[in-house]
Amino acid sequence: MAETLISVPPRARRGDIVEIKTLVSHVMETGYRRSQLGERIPRDIIRLFVCTYNGTEVFRAELHPAIAANPFITFSTVATESGTLAFHWTGDNGFSVRETAEIRVD
């Protein structure tokens, strides 16, 4: 199971723009490298990252092999209401990891 690191401020005032940082452990094998025997190492990357806020999508990123290993993505969202931010990474070889973070909006 891939490890994740998520940074979301636990509390915010309504209307604040909050910064969200996410990291997921993944090799992001490009598919362009060759082994010492000259064989091409098959691609194994995360293709898609989606963030939803109480079920509504607020951000997504389509990734390609040029994203560094352990994809780190920083973005922002408007604190509209208390609830759950859900993060979903999907990729090659059936990779799928979900994580959530709670935010309290006053």
């Binding site: 362009y32 060759r34 951000f59 990123a61 040029a66 560094a68 408007v78």
Partner: protein, 151 residues
Amino acid sequence: MTHDPSRRDFLRAAAGLTVLVAVRPAEATPAAMQDAIRAVIGTAPVTKGRVKLELPPLSENGNAVPLTVSLESAMTPAEHVRAIHVFTEKNPQPEVVSFRLGPRAGRARVSTRIRLADTQTVTAIAELSDGTFWSAEAAVVVTLAACLEET
């Protein structure tokens, strides 16, 4: 001291050639990147400006180069940034990442870490809600390229 005209001509020609070689990469964007850009954004014209692309001018490690793209935008339902795309000219594949955002983002600013296989120019293109496209470029010198061999 000899003043051999043919030698002088040769040197002049060589100097001209050097300038030509030095200037060319800044103008000529590889066709593969242009094709990739058109595949992502279509035929719409792209104007330079508005986009701020932050990359270190010199990177010791091409395996993880920090990248930040931002724009000044009200990020309202009427006026916002829809997407930010990043392309490279010398990686094996020109596409790097496409971020999709909207008014719920509050601010048009995204960061990640990218791989660069060589010293090259990185291009960021932003798609706005009014249908216009804006771009910025940044040149990065990479001393250790993202490896293509097994480590």
